[in-house]
Symmetry: C2
Subunit: 470 residues, 2 copies
């Protein structure tokens, strides 16, 4: 039985949340989107393709692609960084999985949602068979991300706290909205698309760290496209799939704030609260890595190496230790949430990329030794995202660095050049062999491109592009 005080909504439900979002999606045009948000949409796509190029050949994608290959109805859509083509629904799923598999995609900080992967994957899957300009795709991306994050805000923090995998549960709504915009659904059909999404919103946190997590992500993108396609055929749904008595919001969260889903629509934009990770590990570690990389750069002038390190003190909010105190990580996933490993690799190598969190790196004797010298110190006065790193050297010297806001956070965004560098590095890591410069040119030029699908032709490995020309 639930405590009555937990029930925020009156018994007769709050009407209009689904319709408010649907109306916003139908009526908003590109010129209604502020210039800063327009540019952020392009940046979100640079980050999306960077992450997908890193993940496109991972075992998760290989195995999923093997199964999905038996259910390939057409070659209407490309797969980022891969040669084969597949149908729209499968491409939406697999590309969303590629973009998230290394947890290197974007993060909407207020909800911890990774919003772009399901939305962008849904849109580019459609773009190769449903003609749309770059501007149209970017607008649909902005609106889809907005819906995902708005719905996430309405169920936060209770939804994630219960254990729902918020990026996939809310992502299917955003993917539905984006696909619906691209397919020019009207307001009523968009409400129905949300209804189809409510029948498919799934994913639990227990799957994190396993391949099943990626399936949830893929299904969010696939389900979003399917929702919009069904709604286009007047496949009906309830009038209030979100805020109804038994709608998604109340069913999946103990506290619901329906106003968060639609208040300030068109005035505040989720993309402006979304950051891009410079390092493929838990966000709570980013400030500490920033500090270590800064100390390492300084060390080059001061002539010391990691062998000279006697002790490393990491001071931060108690949550940092709770989430990341893992002195002996046993897997790549564990290394990505190990403060000891992150500090060791950043100090020893001056880098913190995907290659620094592999099984090989974990076994590196230099890093093993350094991890043992890390001491974590709690200080509740620290902001969660801040960190202070002090390194004591064997010769008696000490160096220290404090970082208040990590790189990549909305308050300290990666520059366009840094995002480009991320894409270049991840393309090398993923080894898909695609030419990076034409893809980057196409991405930065997208707002003026007559055909958004040109991006996919640049992002797929050669054989797929050839197949597209046939």
């Amino acid at each position: 039985m639930r405590d009555e005080s937990e029930t925020v909504l009156p018994a007769d439900s709050t009407p209009g949340v689904s319709r408010s979002l649907a109306r916003f999606v139908e009526r908003t045009g590109w010129s209604d989107v502020p210039a800063a948000v327009q540019h952020e949409a392009v940046r979100a796509l640079v980050n999306y393709f960077a992450a997908a190029l890193a993940g496109c050949a991972s075992p998760v994608i290989e195995r999923a692609a093997t199964v999905f290959a038996s259910f390939r109805a057409s070659e209407a859509a490309g797969l980022i960084g891969r040669r084969e083509r597949t149908d729209v629904l499968n491409a939406a799923a697999l590309n969303a999985m590629s973009a998230n598999v290394h947890d290197f995609d974007d993060t909407h900080l207020p909800t911890v949602i990774h919003p772009s992967a399901p939305v962008a994957a849904a849109l580019f899957a459609l773009a190769e068979s449903t003609p749309m300009s770059g501007e149209q795709l970017l607008l649909a991306l902005v609106l889809g991300v907005e819906c995902t994050c708005r719905i996430g805000l309405a169920v936060s923090p209770g939804h994630y706290r219960r254990g729902w995998h918020i990026s996939s549960t809310c992502g299917v709504f955003g993917a539905a909205a984006a696909a619906g915009k691209a397919l020019r659904l009207d307001e009523g059909q968009l409400v129905w698309a949300f209804g189809q999404a409510s029948a498919q919103a799934a994913g639990v946190l227990e799957t994190l760290g396993t391949m099943a997590k990626s399936l949830g992500f893929g299904q969010a993108a696939r389900g979003g496209v399917l929702s919009a396609l069904l709604a286009a055929q007047d496949f009906s749904g309830p009038p209030e799939p979100l805020a109804g008595n038994y709608g998604f919001l109340r069913v999946s969260s103990d506290h619901v704030d329906p106003a968060a889903a639609h208040d300030t629509l068109g005035r505040e934009w989720a993309l402006l609260s979304t950051g891009y990770k410079p390092y493929p590990c838990g966000i709570v570690l980013h400030a500490a890595i920033d500090a270590c990389l800064q100390l390492r750069r300084d060390a080059a002038g001061a002539a010391w190496t990691s062998a000279a390190i006697e002790r490393i003190e990491l001071t931060g909010h108690p949550l940092l230790r709770e989430r990341a105190d893992r002195p002996r990580p046993a897997s790549s996933s564990e290394a990505q949430v190990s403060a000891q490993h992150a500090l060791a690799v950043a100090l020893a190598r001056g880098s913190a990329g995907l290659a620094d969190f592999t099984a090989e790196s974990i076994a590196d004797p230099e890093l093993q030794a350094l991890r043992e010298r890390v001491v974590l110190i709690d200080d509740p006065a620290f902001a969660i995202e801040a960190a202070h790193v002090a390194v004591r050297l064997r010769d008696g010297r000490s160096v220290a660095c404090r970082v208040q806001t990590p790189r990549g956070a909305p308050a300290r965004p990666l520059s366009d050049a840094e995002l480009e560098a991320k894409l270049r590095a991840l393309a090398v890591y993923g080894a898909s062999g695609i030419a990076v410069q034409p893809l980057l040119d196409a991405l930065w030029g997208l707002p003026r491109a007559p055909d958004a699908a040109a991006i996919m032709r640049a992002a797929c490995a050669p054989a797929a592009a050839a197949s597209a020309l046939r």
Copy 2:
């Protein structure tokens, strides 16, 4: 924030629920299944095909089939009552939707789950390309239904009370178990299949009465097959997707009883607590309809017609009135939960089939007049499933009938002959044109059939069968 008293499980989770179910699925053979359960599995399939033959041409299926046709990767599987063929995943989805669209499929009374549709649809979709005997299919059906209902018991009643569409959320696990058994997955792979199911378990009650409800059902069947196919490729999942801290049970219900998922496995069987509806309407109305049909049969001898009725008194548990007091239903869905309409049609026509709940029937002046003469009377002493109907005639006479247990409930099961009659009637309603006798012969002979897929050849409309022979 949740009240601590609501948390049944200790913080470190209960291990072994997923593995217990997986082990049971892997190790149980046909000879381990009691004869009564073996026969019930056949009966469940007769009811499944009956329901699907009624629903196969409904607007829901027509519209879904139109969209799914663009994503048909093969013609490996037939669609019940239809001509076209499609691939295994689409067939699983569409056939499950057909079997549930009229709410005429089976009901596991302790959980109110409709268990057979997603499980049977998953199995028959596989059967045409993965050779299996009738016995193998029936065994997988029994095990799949068991898993669906066991998981449902573990989250009941909190899960449904929150608003989860329990047939689809739990159905994906049962479909995964059944498909996994058919594909001969081992215990570890079955746990992974449950993990993939946990990433896809979806559906909210707000969708009931709309086409989106059917999508949830279809996705449960499709997701179950996909889960098993992925697990067969060693696509990994968490070790405890059900009872883990952030596993399906705790995330989706405020009270969890993990023991219900595995205690008495192999000794108690969910199929023996599953009933088949003789009437396409809310189960709460079934006893009242039984009573009216009995009165109507008696009336033939006593020479009165519906025009002679002055007043109809229905006495039952207060829940009956709460759920079904709808004197002026506006749609077929509303008529199916209208006590007034159910009583009127049963008394006036002596029948209560799908044709009696259409828009045309709702508008029938004779029924309109009779509905106005119905009076609902609460009596908390009544069992929820019982009803008493008293009819006062204009000539001063009164007749009455009390029904304690409705037909179709496990305690008063439909006979095999009645199930056959249901299939014959629903096949006529659905108008697919298939020959019913060969299908019935194949169904009753399934335990001895070398090839389970023969059923589908009998259940599909002619063109599909021809295509299968090509």
